[in-house]
């Protein structure tokens, strides 16, 4: 690129615009989860005893561990942005790697959790589940739908962060041009915020 073109390209970077775009997208994601959240609150009100019975079958321990895992991954991605802004590329890459690994840990825990329910015939449409009270069927339906949708977002977030890691390696995202890593981080934090609300919904009703 010649010098004039380079200056023009730099001028056309709109930092605030890029972030506003990301936030608008995050709001659409928020409303995607808000729908089932409302549905949950209504059914929980109608079938509170069934919900408490079904909720007590989930492992509070695994749920709490996963909450801490996701909170820690949010910390590492937030730190990685500061590290890049301070010009520490190595630390940035390390912290992004830690974030992706923690995302994977979360999914492995989720896998075992789902598996433990599925072997007992507790999955949407299973006969063992359908013979239970109405509220419990609704609870497990919402559980699989909402945590499943959330897990898809964790996978999407890990993919985004993997691409960002690649960008940092190739110096496409740098100390002076970091809006991509910030936006990737925002997505990861949103996934964390959604989990913060899912956790009490399914694990803390006793």
């Amino acid at each position: 690129m010649n010098e004039t073109a380079e200056i023009a390209a730099n001028k056309h970077k709109d930092y605030t615009g890029a972030k506003i775009g990301m936030w608008l997208f995050l709001f659409t994601e928020l409303f995607l989860f808000f729908g089932p959240f409302l549905l949950y609150s209504i059914f929980r009100y109608r079938y509170s005893t069934d919900f408490i019975n079904a909720g007590s079958e989930l492992s509070l321990f695994v749920g709490s561990i996963n909450t801490v895992v996701l909170l820690t991954s949010s910390l590492s991605v937030a730190l990685s942005i500061s590290a890049l802004q301070k010009g520490n590329k190595k630390l940035t890459l390390l912290l992004l790697g830690v974030t992706i690994v923690l995302g994977a840990v979360f999914l492995v825990n989720k896998y075992f959790e789902w598996d433990a329910k599925i072997v007992h015939g507790l999955y949407p449409g299973a006969e063992a589940l359908l013979s239970r009270p109405k509220g419990e069927i609704l609870f497990f339906g919402l559980y699989f739908f909402m945590t499943g949708l959330h897990a898809l977002h964790v996978i999407a977030g890990m993919s985004v962060l993997a691409v960002i890691t690649f960008f940092v390696m190739r110096d496409k995202v740098t100390q002076s041009d970091y809006v991509k890593i910030e936006n990737g981080g925002l997505y990861w934090h949103l996934v964390d915020v959604i989990w913060i609300y899912l956790f009490p919904l399914f694990y803390l009703i006793r």
């Binding site: 930092y15 605030t16 972030k19 506003i20 936030w23 608008l24 709001f27 928020l30 409303f31 808000f34 409302l38 209504i42 509070l60 709490s64 909450t67 801490v68 909170l71 820690t72 949010s74 910390l75 991605v77 937030a78 730190l79 942005i81 500061s82 590290a83 802004q85 301070k86 910030e182 981080g185 925002l186 934090h189 964390d192 915020v193 913060i196 609300y197 956790f199 009490p200 803390l204 009703i205 006793r206």
Partner: protein
């Protein structure tokens, strides 16, 4: 209109670590409180604690504390929209026979 960007100074590592400690502490608190049977309070307390955690994540990890005011306005509009939807849905449910 002035398009010059404020220089974004990197946020100190220690601030993030303190926020993380607060988040873990609040997680512990919400688990501990869920064991006590406090009637209506135990229905609302996990939601309040979750909102405190979400506030910390949004304010610090998502940099809203350090961002231009327009972002706070956006979040306010989104929350207000949610409030209206909740209000409409719940009043619909309440008056259905």
């Amino acid at each position: 209109m002035d398009y010059t960007e404020k220089a974004h100074r990197p946020i100190k590592y220690s601030i993030f670590v303190y926020v993380w400690l607060a988040l873990v502490a609040l997680t512990w608190l919400t688990v501990a409180v869920s064991g006590m049977h406090m009637g209506r309070l135990s229905l609302i307390s996990p939601f309040i604690i979750a909102s405190a955690k979400a506030f910390l994540v949004v304010a610090f990890f998502m940099h809203i504390k350090y961002e231009a005011g327009i972002f706070r306005l956006f979040i306010g509009v989104a929350l207000a929209t949610m409030f209206v939807v909740v209000w409409l849905v719940y009043s619909d449910i309440a008056f259905r026979s």
